[in-house]
């Protein structure tokens, strides 16, 4: 079980209110991702749930029981830190066994669980090494191993992959998703990586300055962003925004069109422009286009496959009319 409810949870460091009162429910077995720009309070929120910070106000409930003033160890949660926080003077085996040892579990049971965790995470080959003798990815696995042996009711991850290179990150992403499927335990995962959020989450929580901007499945957020912030934050490359005359045509204050919802043609289209930078990735081509009407602006376009255009070429853009997002003067979604 691992249903976590935040009820008007609030956090201030001295005078500074980092998290204004906030409500959130995380269902049992859900994979929830907190995303948001740097400094928006993702880590703080996670640490509040973990019990490493005291709430300034509000209530945290775990499986219906008030856990607000329960010490971290008694909450039944396990955390994986960004720095891994492995104990450098202990072997991998001892690191993983540490929570069990602290719980005064029987030695035989400890060994069994450590072995099981090592098997799941492919740690057996270096179980007697120290963390200093491991690569980043291996350390990451040890940190996860230390979390799973306790069989917690929920896992908390704070940017666990940000210290890894791109290839490893991809691999670990899959491993963590797989682990979630296998254990079927609640996971709360903090990241500012788009791809991690979109690919891993059952539910994404978008935060800005401690405020929840939107909660929803990755596709919900992609298809129906509630406001300009979410629209701009979710999706890569970023959504293009237009206001003024173009927006007025659609009866809105601002309209947004994702780069993949614009079609490019060299002969005809709605808007004329010149190509600024074209990024050819092979699988995709990203073009940054300066519209003729307003050359200081940049429109980003994504074309699947190769599109031969270079700097200075003239192209025409046409938005897919059913994929235009409309926002009012307050930046909220319309219609």
């Amino acid at each position: 079980m691992g249903r976590i409810t935040l009820d008007k949870v609030q956090k201030a460091f001295g005078e500074v209110e980092v998290i204004p009162p906030l409500d959130l429910t995380i269902e049992d077995g859900e994979f929830v991702v907190f995303v948001g720009p740097s400094g928006c309070g993702k880590s703080t929120l996670l640490r509040l749930i973990a019990g490493l910070e005291d709430v300034t106000g509000g209530q945290i409930r775990i499986d219906g029981n008030d856990a607000t003033s329960v010490p971290p160890a008694k909450r039944g949660l396990a955390m994986v830190f960004q720095s891994y926080a492995l104990y450098p003077h202990m072997s991998v085996r001892k690191n993983i066994a540490f929570p069990l040892r602290m719980a005064k579990m029987e030695q035989a049971e400890q060994d069994r669980r450590v072995q099981a965790a090592a098997d799941v995470l492919n740690l057996s080959d270096y179980i007697d090494r120290r963390p200093g003798q491991l690569s980043g990815g291996q350390r990451q696995r040890v940190a996860i191993g230390r979390a799973i042996v306790r069989e917690p009711s929920a896992f908390l991850f704070d940017e666990p992959l940000s210290n890894l290179d791109a290839a490893l990150r991809h691999g670990m992403r899959l491993e963590i998703s797989e682990l979630h499927k296998r254990l079927d335990t609640t996971m709360i995962y903090v990241t500012h990586d788009q791809v991690e959020a979109m690919t891993m989450a059952d539910k994404i929580v978008v935060l800005q300055a401690g405020v929840i901007e939107q909660v929803g499945s990755p596709l919900e957020l992609y298809k129906t962003p509630r406001n300009l912030f979410v629209a701009g934050f979710i999706g890569s490359p970023k959504m293009n925004f237009f206001d003024g005359a173009e927006a007025a045509k659609h009866d809105a204050h601002t309209i947004g069109i994702r780069p993949e919802h614009l079609t490019v043609s060299t002969t005809e289209g709605m808007w004329k422009g010149t190509v600024g930078v074209a990024e050819h990735l092979g699988s995709d081509t990203f073009m940054h286009i300066h519209p003729e009407a307003n050359p200081s602006e940049t429109i980003t376009v994504r074309v699947g496959g190769e599109f031969s255009a270079t700097h200075g070429d003239t192209v025409f853009l046409t938005p897919a009319s059913d994929n235009i997002h409309r926002f009012d003067a307050d930046g909220m979604r319309m219609g």
């Binding site: 720095s83 926080a85 492995l86 003077h89």
Partner: protein, 288 residues
């Protein structure tokens, strides 16, 4: 060729310093070695020639030798124990955020800047004096008979005085080590269910092990040579005669330079054994 040129230029420029250091070290060392094999009694006939290893055998067979070694070890061990235990406690205390942290830290370091002779005299006259000392007043306040510290608890008194001087050093080194401890490790341990005592034993203490070995290494080398504190307090009486003090007595009180020099050679050997032993431990700790 520039590198070779600059390398030889560097050598030439370093030469005077190296030369000075060598002379500084080698002259006293070779003089000690030279006198240790001669019978040299300045007031009783001067240099009376080569006597082989006689000084060495006489030094160790003297009834004062083994007690002096024992006293030395007790004092060194006692001071190490006190300065490390209290050093860790103080360092953890000073690591807590508090008002006036900067001033408090400087105050804690202060005893280190007091000359050994001065601090020993202050302790002897202001604290340990059986009539007017602060301790005597304290004891009388509680209705007890004042302890005559420097004769009844002489070795312990010396340990206290020397510890007072070395505690700041240990605290300083241990404080910097504590400050470098990753707080996420402590938080991880907290989440893993470790209580404060277990966090100290399993996280903080192992993290400090390197700093502790360094403190032991450096302090031992200096503590083996403690002299002024004994000289101005007990004058080597009441079982406070250390190896260093014994050598001093042989040379200056018995006016036997040869015998004292032999003792000096023993002290060098002892210090080197200790240093070698400690270097091993440090090396092992640094490998991690």
């Amino acid at each position: 060729m520039a590198t070779q040129h600059s390398r030889s230029a560097a050598r030439i420029m370093m030469a005077p310093a190296v030369f000075l250091l060598l002379v500084w070290m080698l002259v006293p060392l070779s003089m000690t070695l030279w006198f240790s094999v001669r019978s040299y009694l300045p007031l009783r006939g001067g240099d009376q020639g080569f006597v082989g290893l006689e000084n060495f055998t006489r030094f160790v067979t003297s009834s004062a030798f083994w007690p002096a070694i024992l006293t030395t070890l007790i004092i060194v061990g006692g001071v190490l124990l006190i300065s490390i235990v209290f050093g860790i406690l103080l360092a953890m205390l000073l690591d807590q955020p508090m008002w006036g942290q900067g001033v408090v830290r400087i105050l804690v370091i202060a005893p280190f800047f007091v000359m050994p002779t001065v601090s020993a005299l202050v302790w002897k006259n202001m604290f340990m004096d059986p009539v007017n000392g602060l301790f005597a007043h304290l004891w009388r306040f509680f209705g007890a008979d004042p302890i005559v510290w420097l004769s009844d608890a002489s070795v312990f008194s010396i340990i206290m005085i020397v510890s007072w001087q070395w505690l700041p050093f240990a605290t300083l080194i241990l404080l910097t080590a504590i400050q470098s401890l990753d707080s996420e490790q402590l938080e991880a341990a907290e989440m893993d269910g470790a209580n404060p005592l277990a966090r100290f034993a399993f996280i903080t203490l192992p993290h400090l092990s390197r700093a502790i070995t360094i403190v032991i290494l450096i302090q031992t080398i200096f503590l083996l040579a403690v002299f002024a504190e004994i000289f101005v307090t007990t004058g080597g009486a009441f079982g406070t005669r250390t190896l260093t003090y014994l050598i001093y007595q042989r040379v200056l009180e018995s006016q036997n330079v040869g015998l004292g020099s032999a003792g000096g050679v023993y002290a060098i050997i002892l210090a080197n054994i200790v240093a070698l032993f400690l270097m091993r431990i440090v090396g092992k700790n640094l490998d991690r």
